[in-house]
């Protein structure tokens, strides 16, 4: 053990180093996730894929108990969803979203972040939620202008007409 004065000085130095370490790394070095001139496009879709339903014939309905005579016969499984995103005419993302759940009866989801330069871009999103049918039954194309650090979201809501940007 040092003499009292030296011990106090030593403690002051060590407590000071402790405070400096904690204080510095509590806020520094600064972190920049995206450059200043970049904006974000977030693709986030959560949607139940379509399913192929069949209309029951009157004979079939007649054979069923009265309380179970649903006119449509729908399978439990949902279709995969095909999704394409083009930015400025270039393919930016291609995926097939699979339904969740053990019986493949849950929603299909996707979440993806794109970093683009701030400015004007041509954005095209195409989606097919029933792969038995060819092509894309939902398409959204638009020219967008993004400010630096702006976040634009690509989402899907059938009640809002399908694909939409916000």
């Amino acid at each position: 053990m040092l003499k009292p004065a030296a011990a106090i000085l030593g403690q002051v130095i060590l407590y000071g180093a402790f405070a400096a370490f904690v204080g510095y790394f509590a806020t520094s070095p600064k972190y920049q996730q995206i450059p200043d001139d970049v904006a974000l496009i977030k693709l986030s879709i959560s949607h139940l894929g379509d399913r192929e339903c069949r209309k029951r014939t009157p004979e079939e309905l007649q054979k069923m108990p009265p309380n179970m005579r649903a006119p449509m016969d729908c399978p439990r499984e949902r279709s995969d969803i095909n999704l394409e995103v083009d930015i400025d005419g270039q393919p930016a993302f291609r995926t097939v979203m699979h339904p969740t759940g053990l019986y493949k009866d849950g929603v299909s989801t996707v979440y993806k972040r794109f970093e683009v330069k701030a400015g004007t871009h041509q954005l095209a999103v195409r989606m097919n939620d029933n792969l038995i049918k060819p092509g894309f039954n939902f398409v959204k194309e638009a020219e967008i202008t993004l400010k630096p650090a702006q976040v634009m979201v690509i989402d899907f809501n059938p009640d809002k007409g399908g694909l939409f940007f916000k």
Partner: protein, 523 residues
């Protein structure tokens, strides 16, 4: 030597040097590196106390949460602002102390055998600390909170645990509502409660736990944190706005380092690293390690159920049960899984006195590898070999300064598993057997390999704890030196000083009545 052992030994040597350097200004009792567990608990209480205040002033609504915290920092900076800063800096310091504690326990090999339980129960606590700390940053709901919330949920979404991406909750300004903050506060209080419960389990199998560090260390720590809070108060960034991505962030690297790591690598790599690190910590006790020593053994005929061993055991390895041979008496029972093989129990046993006239000294609780009988025989043999003007018996500790190097014709040396194994009556026995002085050395204060050996020995020899050294033993003939394995010269100097003191201060005026067991017995 395996790579792991080499790495561990190197780290231990380095840490030991730093700890010993810290002993100089702080002293062993207030050395923060020797009391990391207690210091961590103290920091946690600061976090809990300041957090309770912040909870009472927090407005849990989207618009109110940011403003209410900011009000504390801006308008009530002298109270609420300081408490907020304390909350943050004490949390940061807690992480630092926790990591040092983990590193130290690993480096000193304190993760297997009887320490298995404490090690294993400590690992999940790291996850709880991080879950609580990261969630705490979200409550402020500034840009840093927005960044952390988004980055954390993006990381979580990599795991197949949510049916919908959790990051969808932070897509746009209208994605969250007031209930989000209610849930957040609930989690931010709930997880620390779990942490406290986990800490209770963590120290459950340790007795005489230091729940708080020394007063000096507490004052120094709180003073430092208060000063830091005044010089650099914790402030919010701009309010969160989910329509904009945060740009330059004043990141807290103690808690949020994981986000840049995920950005630079990928969620898969981050999770792999976290899971691998956790698995490694869990697996560590099962890796090859030195063979464990035999545990303490109780002799029913010599155990009178006094419970001193129960009181002194540092690892709660002893319990008392009904004596099988003496109705109404109790007997000590040793749990082999918890026993550290330190022998402190043997040192506490009143039957361990060497003055007993049995040819073979059998005590109530003893160590097979260094029994009290062996110790007496060894001491008698060494005393018989001593010659010279001033005969000194040095009793050392296997984990402290190496005493064997001091052996000489006038210096007898005995090394113990732990200083705490020595019954105080052995000091008197050595002096009455022909020694002019007894120098007892053990680990430095706060650095005992078995936690309490140094403390119990000091208290027993100074008459503060049973079994006490009899008061008729002249204090001047006993010297205590607490020295680590690196303090060889300190020990040699202390011995020389002790010898000179005995020789110059005419201590022959206070001799004890000689006692030789065999002749006394026959007489």
């Amino acid at each position: 030597m395996s790579l792991h052992a080499l790495l561990r030994n190197t780290t231990q040597t380095l840490l030991q040097r730093v700890e010993e350097a810290f002993d100089a200004p702080f002293g062993g009792a207030s050395n923060p590196l020797r009391h990391l567990g207690a210091l961590g608990l103290y920091l946690l209480w600061i976090v809990v106390g300041s957090g309770l205040y912040l909870y009472t002033v927090l407005d849990i609504s989207i618009d109110g949460v940011y403003a209410s915290i900011n009000y504390q920092s801006q308008e009530l900076w002298y109270f609420g602002g300081i408490l907020r800063s304390l909350h943050r800096y004490a949390s940061n310091a807690f992480v630092l102390v926790m990591m040092l504690h983990l590193l130290r326990e690993w480096a000193y090999g304190r993760y297997y055998g009887f320490r298995f339980y404490s090690w294993i129960t400590g690992v999940p606590l790291i996850w709880l600390v991080y879950a609580s700390g990261i969630g705490g940053y979200w409550i402020v709901w500034d840009q840093l909170a927005q960044f952390s919330a988004t980055a954390t949920t993006e990381l979580l979404d990599w795991l197949p645990i949510f049916s919908e991406p959790a990051a969808r909750n932070f897509l746009a300004p209208d994605s969250i509502n007031d209930r989000f903050f209610t849930m957040l506060v609930f989690i931010h209080i709930g997880i620390p409660l779990l942490l406290i419960l986990g800490l209770w389990a963590h120290v459950h199998r340790i007795s005489h736990v230091d729940y708080l560090p020394s007063r000096q260390l507490m004052l120094g720590t709180i003073g430092t944190l208060l000063l830091l809070a005044l010089i650099k108060p914790a402030l919010s960034d701009a309010a969160a706005n989910l329509a904009l991505s945060p740009t330059e962030l004043r990141l807290d690297w103690f808690f949020l380092f994981i986000h840049p790591l995920a950005d630079r690598t990928s969620p898969a790599i981050v999770w792999s690293l976290l899971i691998a690190a956790t698995a490694l910590l869990f697996v560590l006790p099962f890796l090859p390690h030195p063979k464990t020593e035999p545990v303490a053994v109780v002799d029913a005929d010599n155990c009178n159920g006094c419970s001193r061993c129960l009181a002194d055991c540092p690892y709660a390895a002893i319990s008392m049960e009904a004596h099988p041979k003496r109705p109404g008496y109790k007997i000590a029972i040793v749990d082999p899984d918890l026993c550290a093989s330190c022998g402190i129990c043997a040192g506490s046993c009143p039957s361990s006195t060497p003055f007993r006239r049995q040819e073979q000294l059998v005590t109530g609780i003893d160590m097979p590898q260094q029994s009290v009988d062996d110790l007496r025989l060894q001491l008698e043999a060494r005393l018989a070999q001593l010659s010279g003007r001033t005969k000194i018996v040095v009793i050392g500790c296997d984990h402290g300064a190496r005493a064997q190097a001091l052996a000489a014709p006038d210096t007898a040396v005995i090394s113990l598993i732990c200083t705490g194994i020595l019954p105080p009556s052995f000091v008197e026995y050595a002096l009455r057997g022909g020694a002019d002085g007894v120098l007892l050395t053990g680990c430095r204060s706060g650095g005992c390999e078995f936690r309490l050996g140094t403390r119990w020995t000091t208290e027993r020899l100074s008459g503060q704890r049973e079994p006490r050294l009899r008061s008729k033993v002249p204090p001047a003939r006993l010297q205590l030196v607490f020295a680590s394995a690196n303090d060889k010269q300190t020990l040699a100097d202390a011995l020389q000083e002790f010898r000179t003191r005995i020789e110059t201060q005419a201590l022959s005026a206070d001799p004890l009545q000689p006692y030789f067991r065999r002749t006394s017995h026959h007489a």
